[in-house]
């Protein structure tokens, strides 16, 4: 089953070896042989000019997928507030629904959450399915899985989207398993295949080193979780035509819920560990004074990140050593590193050169930091950073 290399047809040209992103093909005695790294992605099938590599048909269980219609969005709510990601998914869901030519629905579970339905309609849902009950007030795996699975089985949506929140990532796999379908996690891009009309779910793997596009051809619904902050929010507009609120009666009882939630604790921001942060706004000698870090902290807060520092700033006692990035500080690899007033000595660069994207702000155009930056701004950081804060606020 899966990808097969037909030894008789193989001429040993090695094109497939080069095409494979997983190093899964070895040449043994001038013939291509598959090893255990194969993920059945099919890149080799496309690469072979001699028809020597085929994708075998699988013996999978069949499901009548034509019965399934509509795009569903799990409208996650906590304490009666709709999560931002729900609005983002409705925005994306609308786009997908248009392409498929079907309707967009939101699914709302909870207790006394009826007033959220207006918001969901405003975000563009054609239908809102609501199921309420005292045992749905707080999220539990057992309660929500039971209700959502039954709803899926009854109404047969074609696509179901969840936010990849701690709740979404707990609920979605359980539901997918219960209704016997496929789930793709942390999608960064969703598209409809123009030919097959299926959902193409693109997501990062191998720590982001590779992107994979996943499909769920023979099972329905096609389920996906999407990271918050990735898709664009839906615009809030007025009511659409034919909006429908559908009540779903659930029969969740206390016995169904096999765990007990004793307490919910909201925590403040934990102490700084810059190594784990995805966004770091870092300051150096160019700040000229310790108060400069307050400015950077404001930007960091806006971006959901933390503040870092160069050795010069730490030694001037403008900030604690915990924040130091570099040879004698910490090595960091955030997705975004913004270096402000940092010249970029080889020591500092050793601590941050592997960051995803590097932005440098410095009034010296010759500063070495620019050699590792993806984006450089030559200017006074006391001018640039406030403008960045303002521009970010406006865009969001």
């Amino acid at each position: 089953m899966g990808i097969k290399i037909l030894q008789d047809e193989c001429v040993g040209c090695t094109l497939c070896v080069g095409a494979c992103p997983f190093d899964a093909i070895d040449m043994i005695d001038s013939k291509a042989v598959m090893n255990d790294n194969c993920t059945n992605c099919g890149a080799c099938v496309d690469a072979c000019n001699f028809g020597a590599i085929i994708k075998e048909e699988s013996q999978m269980k069949q499901m009548d997928i034509t019965q399934y219609k509509d795009v569903w969005v799990f409208a996650e709510q906590r304490d009666g507030q709709l999560m931002d990601v729900a609005a983002e998914l409705l925005g994306e869901g609308r786009r997908l629904a248009e392409e498929v030519g079907c309707e967009l629905s939101a699914v709302l579970l909870g207790e006394d959450v009826r007033d959220l339905t207006d918001e969901l309609f405003a975000y563009g849902a054609d239908k809102v399915y609501i199921s309420e009950g005292e045992h749905l007030k707080q999220y539990t795996t057992d309660g929500y899985t039971k209700v959502l699975s039954k709803m899926v089985e009854e109404y047969k949506p074609e696509i179901v989207l969840f936010g990849a929140t701690h709740i979404g990532r707990d609920l979605a796999p359980r539901v997918a398993a219960r209704v016997d379908t496929g789930l793709t996690a942390d999608c960064t891009k969703l598209e409809i295949d123009p030919e097959e009309k299926g959902l193409m779910q693109t997501r990062p793997a191998f720590g982001g080193n590779i992107m994979a596009t996943i499909i769920c051809p023979k099972h329905r619904p096609q389920m996906a979780t999407v990271r918050p902050g990735v898709m664009e929010r839906a615009e809030k507009s007025g009511k659409r035509e034919d909006q429908e609120l559908i009540e779903f009666k659930n029969d969740v009882t206390e016995e169904d819920i096999r765990i007990k939630i004793l307490d919910v604790v909201k925590a403040g921001k934990a102490s700084v560990n810059i190594v784990d942060s995805e966004v770091i706004v870092s300051g150096g000698r160019g700040l000229e004074k310790p108060e400069g870090f307050e400015l950077l902290q404001t930007l960091a807060d806006k971006l959901g990140g933390v503040v870092g520092a160069s050795r010069a700033a730490v030694e001037s006692e403008w900030i604690d050593h915990d924040h130091q990035v570099g040879q004698t500080g910490k090595t960091v690899r955030p997705e975004l590193y913004i270096a402000c007033g940092i010249s970029g000595s080889v020591q500092h660069r050793a601590g941050m050169a592997e960051s995803g994207q590097i932005v440098a702000v410095n009034n010296d155009p010759e500063a070495p930091i620019f050699s590792v930056a993806d984006y450089g701004i030559v200017g006074d950081l006391n001018d640039v950073i406030p403008k960045m804060i303002k521009a970010y606020r406006e865009k969001v």
Partner: protein, 262 residues
């Protein structure tokens, strides 16, 4: 008390590089490690055993023959035995098929009180296998466990939320997925390593050993498939932004938003 810990051998994705010419993964020289979230899962089980020495811990993994290494590491850390599920028939599996296979093996073991799984693997990053094993076995689950307490047979955990945590009480049988912040894992001890290699601690189960239909495993048991893989755009040289400060800032913010960084 009987604990089963599901673990995975993964490439150290921090060390994986992309070949700039071919645009493919360079896996050569990339060390294989025990997945960090799984290590936390095992460490927590070992701490239970530290407190209650008659606890029995089985570590289990599905993978190619070399995945035995992480089972050895687990036994060297203190687990009692390791089970390797290895068969060509299992390969090509997505999370549903993988969890089917692991769940079947757990059923074959029979009795268990707690199943510890790491929240997610650093190569797949899906966080799906744990919950799907739970569903397959029909047992309750709690994910994102960042603290675990076992007091007089009662299980109490802290489940991490984005902005805090929930305190949850449960009882066995139960499946818990752990995050690496849960604890600091011990190293394998040197006597443990010697024991793991000298004594027969690892069993290998193949497709023949599990009573499972071929449509539930491997490629055939996978509702999702990879349509294609590609490497994300590599970084080119940096760009110095032009114009007035306002223009530069505007341009920067726009570019960063396009890349979903802010």
């Amino acid at each position: 008390m009987k604990i089963i810990v599901c673990i995975k051998q993964v490439p150290d994705t921090n060390e994986v590089k992309i070949d700039p010419v071919k645009g493919t993964l360079i896996r050569e020289g990339v060390p294989s490690i025990l997945n960090p979230d799984d290590k936390a899962a095992l460490e927590e089980a070992l701490r239970v055993k530290d407190q209650h020495p008659d606890t029995h811990i089985t570590v289990m993994t599905m993978g190619p023959p070399q995945a035995e290494e992480v089972l050895i590491e687990g036994v060297a850390m203190g687990a009692d035995e390791g089970i390797l599920l290895s068969d060509r028939a299992f390969s090509g599996a997505d999370t549903w098929a993988t969890s089917n296979t692991l769940a079947k093996a757990i059923e074959k073991i029979g009795r268990y009180d707690i199943i510890f799984c790491g929240r997610q693997a650093i190569d797949g990053d899906t966080a799906q296998v744990g919950p799907q094993i739970g569903e397959r076995l029909g047992i309750p689950q709690v994910s994102y466990v960042e603290k675990f307490y076992l007091e007089e047979g009662k299980i109490r955990v802290h489940r991490a939320l984005e902005d805090g945590y929930e305190v949850i009480e449960g009882q066995s049988p139960i499946l818990l997925t752990t995050i690496k912040e849960l604890n600091e894992a011990r190293y394998p001890s040197i006597p443990g390593i010697m024991r793991a290699y000298r004594e027969d601690c690892i069993k290998v189960w193949t497709y023949e050993d599990l009573d499972i239909p071929s449509t539930d495993i491997g490629l055939d048991g996978s509702p999702t498939q990879v349509k294609r893989s590609f490497t994300p755009e590599q970084k080119g040289a940096g760009e110095m932004l032009e114009g007035t400060t306002d223009e530069k800032v505007g341009s920067l913010v726009q570019k960063l938003q396009e890349k979903n960084l802010i």
